[in-house]
Symmetry: C2
Subunit: 112 residues, 2 copies
Amino acid sequence: MDSKQLDLVFAALADPTRRALLARLSEGDNCVAVLAEPFAMSQPAISKHLKVLENAGLISRHSAGTSRFSHLEAEPLREATEYMEKYKRFWGAKFDKLDAALAAYQEENTDD
Amino acid sequence: MDSKQLDLVFAALADPTRRALLARLSEGDNCVAVLAEPFAMSQPAISKHLKVLENAGLISRHSAGTSRFSHLEAEPLREATEYMEKYKRFWGAKFDKLDAALAAYQEENTDD
DNA sequence: CGCTTACAGAACCGATTGGTTATGAATGGA
DNA sequence: TCCATTCATAACCAATCGGTTCTGTAAGCG
């Protein structure tokens, strides 16, 4: 996953409405009107959020009649998680220098 | 980790300069001037980015003489990773409904 | 004391974001 | 055919973002 894509994924996740949409989609595909229901927000606002998620690769969409269904695509989430796990060796309150060195050595060294 | 804090962490991670700063800090604490070196950007711009990282809890800072050193704080990264792992059951190309149901059952159910 | 270095803060700027309302296009149904 | 439903797009707006330059402040040093 390149840097630009990470920009989009993290930016998409930085909004609580979009995270809630993803959470909802984890329970199953759904159409715009139904997805919009829980929010005190207009339909075009939700459509915009869905487009942001789509651009980040976090959802795909397909039409059925007059409805468009959104489908969760988790792969970018996996890759973003993988990115963050580069920092796993700093987790946990205590680790001595040997631990850190070993952990660092074991890791694939990716930049960015 | 509450929703507001997730906003800040993901928003902080959504910028490539800030991700690069974190990567640099994973090699050790450093002061502003040195951190700024690799970037074609003014010192105040870097100071702003560091403040964003600090507000997200991703770094802490301490002064030493005229310098201020930034220190990586990985805990919010761990928590954000934890958040994303809610979607772990959707990773991997194949999984049948039983797998999904089991994975869902095993999971703590956090909202947002 | 006076100079330099390291950094933060303020003021400013253009671009982007997150929302709105209004409109239009495509589908399905009477 | 005509109408209703679903949704996207356009135009607009205020607020935020990411950068700039200029200035101020605090610490170290001659």
